[in-house]
Amino acid sequence: MKVTALLIAAVAAVATASSPVLATPVPGQPAPAFRGVDVNGKPVSLADFRGKTVVLEWNNPNCPFVQKHYTSGNMQSLQQKNTAAGVVWLAINSTTESHSDYMAPAKLAAWFGEQKSAPTAIVMDARGEIGRAYAAKVTPHMYVIDAKGTLVYAGAIDDKRSANPADIKTSTNHVAVALGEVAAGKPVTTSTTTAYGCTIKY
């Protein structure tokens, strides 16, 4: 019957058109796949890095907590040490274009240059799609993904919740610890912490 067929078609259309809300990714589960574009307009896809350890760093240069780890050189040295060892480091900026913190790709790239920071790629996520997929809340929110594509760490960069660079030397860097354990083939002991920092400007 024509009408019944139409109803079934309509129902099917609605069913396929709706996408379920993404759940918070939890360490131990596969990291959500994503595709993005870096500051140079080059596509970046998580799937391309299968077989390598990947670090995701949520970044916003205007955030005092991000500045804490860059003015001190803490983030840069972590990036250098690990990219040299074959780790892929993706700095992701999810600030929406309408926010005053937004930086155009060239400007953002220049800021990383000034900081002498060299992540594998600086990913533009102005629509917040990658941020929402990872339920990223703050800058810097840090994630570590192992070679098998499993999320092994999600949370804060370290255990001293402050914007004061002086606190870095007395703090434990959760990301460094997790990367060390991954490199040694050990399970990550502290796989989740509460991230601290500025709200991501979605």
Binding site: V11, V21, T24, P64, C198, T199, I200, K201
Partner: protein, 706 residues
């Protein structure tokens, strides 16, 4: 004819609009500081051996805030590093209860306006009377608006040491602050139950305490998802607050500690208390995201079923349904003698209606449980469904005009069809008419239906499905009654030539509905999409014409009809893949502000009254209300006089944030009209608006503001 009115209204809104609303935040050169800090004492002197209460007063500039001891999704708690003379020791900060501060999809816990963070200082017994003591320290905080800046200030206070102390000049502020500091909730028993991501906080409230709104602020980070809605269910003194556990759940999470803020806290006439309850694993049924601030009155099942039945009845009068059903009734009038098989038709029709409603509702519930933010009318939020309906209504119109013959729906004016109506075999036609009636009726959320649907969606699936079934029974009732009691048919007018004319006339409401549907489509896709839909309509019209010719004996036209249908199908394909989200929503055609929860929170926190029009292009009632009650000069000037900001939440295409906002009011469909007063208290206005209703509501706001 309401349909024609609707189309007229629809066409009016197509007139070129004024500038779209756009607001950018004022940019000013960042001032040095947005928070002023000052150290105060409750007494005018220090007494040896007696504890002294001091307070850090933080005064926030408008829109700026600082954080509670647990800051929520981001932020830092304020802290004080004391530099005290030997023998003096400072206790921890005694925090007043915080409030929820939403920013985008995230929620922080903190303070705005002016607050006092108390600290108890232990004074040594040997401090000499007559001396002066300076208490100093450094206060550090994070001050945020949409950007965050770390703030710090050196604080100091010098007091004389006396044998006895009197109140200081700030004693009133200290007194006012003490009532905001949560104490353990006495005589309250309860426990937390955790089931995956769901947490249920069950509590028996102490005598004399009630909670119509309840918020929980967790003492531990990473245990409760700060931004998740908190759903309150209550029965007498027993309350249940449904929370969302942060993932992953920590193995050592064995307690639920934190602060409960009821009815807005002491400052708003409510109460506060801290709790420390065991958290045990168990079963927690999912609840829908109706926050505890839900002002929608709880509805009993009987009332909901009754409302659904009545709503279903009224659906028969909706402009899009009426022609189909009236023709079906006339068809009955022609066959008033065949009573036996009539009952079968009536039952088949009713079954078609009820099953379709249950099927649609089941799908809606299933999708909601899968996490999609959908609401009633979701069918019409997909462009190609709207386009399909346009084609369907056009085909029905052509059929009514006699371009081609098809027994579906009317079954009159055609000897063969009329004959087959009495054949039991054709009960399938009646079933299909029932299904068709539900498809065309779904956008017309009749009065009473909104509340019943809102109720249904917050209930367990079985209750929800029975409410929807009641809706179907209501809709099928008139037809069913006539077929079961054919004697009633004699009350209908006698058949004759007028029926053929009436049938042809009914084609025009159908075409008018097509115009309306195309207008809806125009809100969802671009001009190219609408053009494509119209091309499909032409091809379908051609196919129907050729089909009619072949039915009249010109058989070769069958192939022409087939070709026309093929062209229609090909033209339709790109429509099916069009993405509604890719097309910007139509700019508001007047000075209405586009809805956003952040903007709403900002306005209500500033004490600005706000009116929200939850609407959709495909909602007939909404369009009528808009023309009748919301756009008259009188109402517009009434809004202006009351200083009300008018917000429009346009649900024409799927919008999760609007679906969530509707859920806050226990609703699942549009229209919904909400007026927030200067204290941020919402009032829900009726679904059928008149000028008088709106003006009366505005008067109340003005009175309340005084």
């Amino acid at each position: 004819m309401r349909t024609l009115l609707t189309v007229l209204f629809a066409l009016l809104t197509l007139l070129p609009g004024q500038t779209a609303w756009a607001q950018s935040l004022p940019r000013f050169g960042a001032p040095e500081r947005h928070v002023d800090a000052e150290l105060l004492a409750a007494t005018d002197a220090i007494v040896p051996g007696q504890p002294l209460t001091v307070g850090l007063k933080l005064k926030h500039q408008s829109e700026w805030h600082t954080y509670w001891q647990v800051p929520g999704d981001s932020g830092l708690p304020t802290r004080i590093d004391w530099r005290l003379p030997a023998g003096f020791t400072a206790g921890p900060i005694e925090w007043p209860h915080p409030k929820r501060l939403p920013t985008g999809p995230l929620v922080n816990f903190g303070y705005d306006g002016e607050i006092l963070l108390l600290t108890t200082i232990q004074v040594p017994a040997d401090v000499p009377v007559g001396s002066r003591v300076t208490l100093a320290g450094k206060a550090e905080w994070l001050e945020c608006k949409d950007v965050c800046i770390p703030g710090e200030s050196d604080i100091a206070l010098t007091l004389p040491v006396k044998a006895a102390a009197g109140p200081s000049a700030h004693v009133a502020l200290f007194e006012a602050t003490r009532v905001l500091i949560p104490q353990p909730l006495a005589n309250a028993t309860g426990q937390g139950t955790i089931d995956g991501s769901r947490i249920r906080l069950s509590l028996a409230l102490p005598a004399g305490k009630t909670a119509s709104r309840l918020e929980f602020f967790p003492q531990h980070e990473g245990r409760i998802e700060p931004a998740a809605p908190q759903v309150l269910k209550r029965e007498g003194d027993a309350v249940e607050l449904y929370l969302t556990a942060a993932q992953p759940v920590k193995a050592d999470a064995k307690t639920l500690q934190g602060v409960l803020v009821a009815n807005g806290g002491p400052a708003a006439g409510g109460w506060i208390g801290s709790i420390d309850l065991p958290l045990v694993a168990g079963t927690v049924a999912p609840v829908s995201a109706v926050p505890s601030t839900n002002p929608a009155a709880a509805m009993s099942l009987v009332a909901a079923l009754g409302a659904a039945l009545l709503g279903g009845l009224l659906l028969n009068l909706m402009p899009c349904v009426f022609p189909v059903l009236s023709l079906k009734l006339i068809g009955l009038a022609q066959h008033r003698t065949h009573s036996g098989s009539l009952a079968a038709h009536g039952i088949a029709f009713a079954a078609g209606v009820v099953l379709s409603f249950v099927l649609l509702a089941g799908l809606l519930i299933a999708l909601q449980q899968a996490g999609s933010a959908l609401g009633w009318g979701f069918q019409l939020q997909t462009p190609w469904v709207v386009a399909s309906l346009t084609v369907l209504f056009f085909l029905i119109g052509l059929n009514l005009l006699g371009v081609y013959e098809f027994t579906l729906g009317s079954g009159i004016g055609n000897a063969k069809a009329a004959e087959s109506l009495t054949r039991t075999r054709d009960w399938r036609g009646s079933f299909a008419t029932g299904v068709l009636a539900v498809i065309v009726a779904s956008p017309c959320t009749a009065p009473f239906m909104g509340a019943a649907l809102g109720y249904a969606i917050t209930q367990p699936a079985t209750v929800a499905l029975s409410v929807f079934a009641a809706l179907g029974v209501g809709m099928a009732a008139p037809y069913l009654l006539l077929t079961l009691f054919p004697a009633l048919l004699h009350k209908l007018p006698r058949p004759g030539r007028w029926m053929e004319l009436f049938k042809q006339f009914m084609a025009f409401p159908m075409f008018a509905t097509c115009v309306w549907l195309l207008w809806v489509l125009a809100q969802q896709v671009d001009a190219g999409g609408v053009g494509l839909a119209l091309a499909v309509v032409v091809a379908v019209g051609f196919a129907a014409w050729a089909l009619g010719l072949s039915q009249r004996g010109a058989y070769p036209f069958r192939w022409v009809a087939l070709a026309g249908a093929l062209v229609a199908a090909l033209a339709f394909a790109p429509l099916a893949t069009s993405d509604p989200a890719a097309v910007a929503k139509a700019a508001s055609s007047d000075d209405w502000v586009a809805y956003s929860p952040e903007k709403l929170a900002q306005l209500t926190s500033e004490g600005t009254p706000v009116f929200i029009d939850f609407t959709a292009a495909w909602c007939v009632t909404c369009q009528v209300n808009k023309r009748v009650a919301l756009t008259s000069d009188k109402v517009i000037s009434g809004f202006a006089a009351a200083g009300v900001v008018r917000m429009r939440a346009d649900w024409t295409t799927r919008d999760e944030r609007i679906t969530q906002a509707l859920a806050q009011f226990g609703r699942n469909g549009v229209p919904l009209y909400v007026l927030y007063d200067t204290k941020g208290q919402p009032t829900v206005l009726p679904e059928i608006l008149t000028e008088a209703t709106v003006l009366a509501a505005l008067d109340k706001i003005k009175l309340a503001a005084r």
